[in-house]
Amino acid sequence: MKQEGKIAIWREYQKEIADDKYFYVRSCIRQNFFPGSEVTFLRILRDVLKKDVFEHPCHTTCSGIGYHGDVVPVETAMTVVARQFALMTEAGYTNYVPSCITSFGLYTEIIDTWHHFPEVEEKVRQKLKEATGREFNIPSNLAHASDIIYKFRKEISARAKYKLINHDTGEPLRVVDHIGCHYSKMFPSKGVGGAEYPYVLAGMIEEWGGEVVDYPERRHCCGFGFRQYLVQANRGFSVACSKEKFESMKPFKPDMIITNCPGCPMFLDRWQYVINEMEGTRYGLNGEGIPVFTYEEVAGLVLGFDPWDLGLQMHQTDCEPVLKKIGIEYSPEDKYKTGVKTFSQNQPALANV
């Protein structure tokens, strides 16, 4: 593998990312899946980097999950998105930052559609005005929340308490980066690093001391794929997709996986447990699972946040082996200080107990 080839491609795909005054919109599902991630993003931006981040209480779903699940027509999705932009406009912001990859993809797609078909934009403006009395500006800068962390990866590194390095050996951790499909596969120029070799997470991994693992099924879907999971009859396909990825990455002996999508960490994390239950297969080192993190969680760990404040106790695949490998100081006793223990102590090491 020749790194210089990737570097040449990364140079081609740079995007403008605003450096302050963000209108932040949360994901529909991330707060249930990985409840510490979004609050960690806000903590890093506001408390560590001293940035202005605004959240609007009237923000709703972008409807992207329904759009990509084939139950919401695109015109409806556009009008919902127009309303979100109206909230941003009313709040006096211009830099729009969605937490969700599918939202980011939908916003990108809609802005591009309006660019090519201004009559559609005009119609949406009329419908929004009729229905809500609202008007909107299109954001001057649209960046996914992982773009923001990527932008400030060096600032985070400068404040790092820990690096993605094996505490005992000094070797970099081997990290799989998994990018949500809707980040740049539809619009390569809108993602840091493009679609084939995205750099948004790889840049964080490199900056924070880790080594990026490139494996054959790197581009493959995590298994969520919307209808693969949302339609119950398809769930076998969902788990099969995830299994395909785990089988492919296993020979590279990854220490951890880092993701930037709501669904990806959920399925890569939970399906490891399911596959272990189904056939007793574990893909990580020492007979364990491969811990799966969101980028906010990893940024939080690097900055020395308490793992349990990051919500790592909510992961199905146990994260503690990686915490120990990095040398992170934490209190195992505090693991469930905010919740109820749900697993028995006799579960296999794969499970988060």
């Binding site: 593998m1 020749k2 491609i9 084939e196 054959p216 099924e217 581009r219 020979p251």
Partner: protein, 340 residues
């Protein structure tokens, strides 16, 4: 006094045109940007459809120019090309100024930069190479992977940078299919134990003896032809190349592990040609090659009187077509100079 013609580009078209113009009794200067003439011919080992040694054609072309006293100027790049009344002035980056009564532009083509098809990983994955790289191996007589091992399973991807809206090339490069067939046979000749898989969209075997070569590849050499586009390539821990393909005849996706993947790079307007177009305002077509005055009976003429085209600066062509096109350009020049 003899009329002077400048030929820009010392590849197949330029050499043929320069030699023939000289035979007509004209004074000829041939400008070549590289140290030696021959262009892409220098890199190709054997030629389709008969797999003759490319040096035979090169020797013929060199002979044509040497015998006929063509003034050969190598390592020369055109900086400025202007026409004033009936005369052309060429300024080179080396500071030379040349005057001419007519000009033939024979700036040829560049191979498509395969790294632009990012999903194939050329320049990233160790065992993804191009058709030109494979010719180097043929010449060395040593087809090996980056690890120095003899490959057992080799894939060939057709239409890399051709008929591809994503890279902005809607046209067919015409030569890649037959090059793939030729190279597949040569691999099987040199490595009888190997298996070769060609992934194609359509087999465009339009030239003389191409179809026969295609049949030979299947019947004699057992080359596998799979109709489907490769969607992506990736690398395993042991440096194999995994390809994902839609096999459109079987109607199902296919995943295959290969020791080597060869990309059939298409043809694009050369950088030299683009510069000439910029400095002269010569029209280029949607395919970015020079736009000829008339596709049927004026394919050597440009929109500047006295400036003519020869060869692949106007469209993808094979060597036979290029030589014919260059001869036709000579005929146009002679006719033009007689009138002027």
């Amino acid at each position: 006094m003899s009329k002077h013609v400048i030929v820009i580009g010392g590849g197949v078209a330029g050499l043929e045109a320069a030699g023939r113009l000289s035979l007509e009794g004209l004074e000829v200067s041939l400008l070549e940007k590289d140290k030696i003439t021959g262009g892409h011919l220098n890199r190709w080992f054997r030629l389709f459809p008969d797999r003759r040694d490319s040096t035979e054609v090169k020797n013929y072309l060199d002979g044509l120019t040497h015998v006929n006293n063509v003034r050969l100027l190598t390592n020369i790049t055109v900086e400025k090309l202007e026409k004033e009344k009936d005369h052309f002035t060429v300024m080179t980056t080396e500071g030379k100024e040349l005057k001419a009564d007519a000009v033939i532009v024979a700036t040829g083509f560049d191979l498509f930069k395969s790294s632009r098809k990012e999903e194939y990983g050329y320049g990233i994955y160790d065992n993804v190479i191009t058709s030109a790289d494979l010719e180097d191996m043929f010449r060395e007589g040593d087809i090996v992977t980056r690890e120095g091992e003899v490959p057992s399973n080799i894939g060939i991807v057709h239409c890399v940078g051709s008929r591809d809206e994503k890279v902005g090339n809607l046209y067919c490069s015409k030569l890649c299919c037959v090059t793939a067939v030729k190279q597949a046979i040569e691999i099987r000749e040199q490595l009888p134990e190997s298996k070769v898989f060609c992934f194609y969209m359509d087999m465009r075997m339009g030239g003389a003896h191409y179809e026969e070569l295609y049949r030979e590849a299947q019947e004699v050499w057992g080359v596998n032809f799979i109709r489907g586009k490769v969607s992506e390539a990736s690398e395993t821990i042991d440096k194999k190349v995994v390809v994902k393909v839609e096999d459109t005849l079987a109607g199902r996706p296919l995943k295959m592990k290969l020791d080597m993947l060869v990309l059939m790079a298409g043809m694009e307007m050369s950088e030299g040609g683009k510069k000439i177009a910029e400095m002269t305002g010569l029209k280029t077509g949607e395919n970015r090659f020079f736009e000829v005055a008339d596709h049927h009976f004026g394919s050597n003429r440009s929109d500047i009187e006295g400036l003519f085209y020869a060869g692949t600066c106007t469209a993808p062509m094979n060597i036979t077509e290029t030589i014919s096109h260059a001869r036709a350009a000579v005929s146009e020049v002679v006719e033009y100079l007689k009138k002027s």
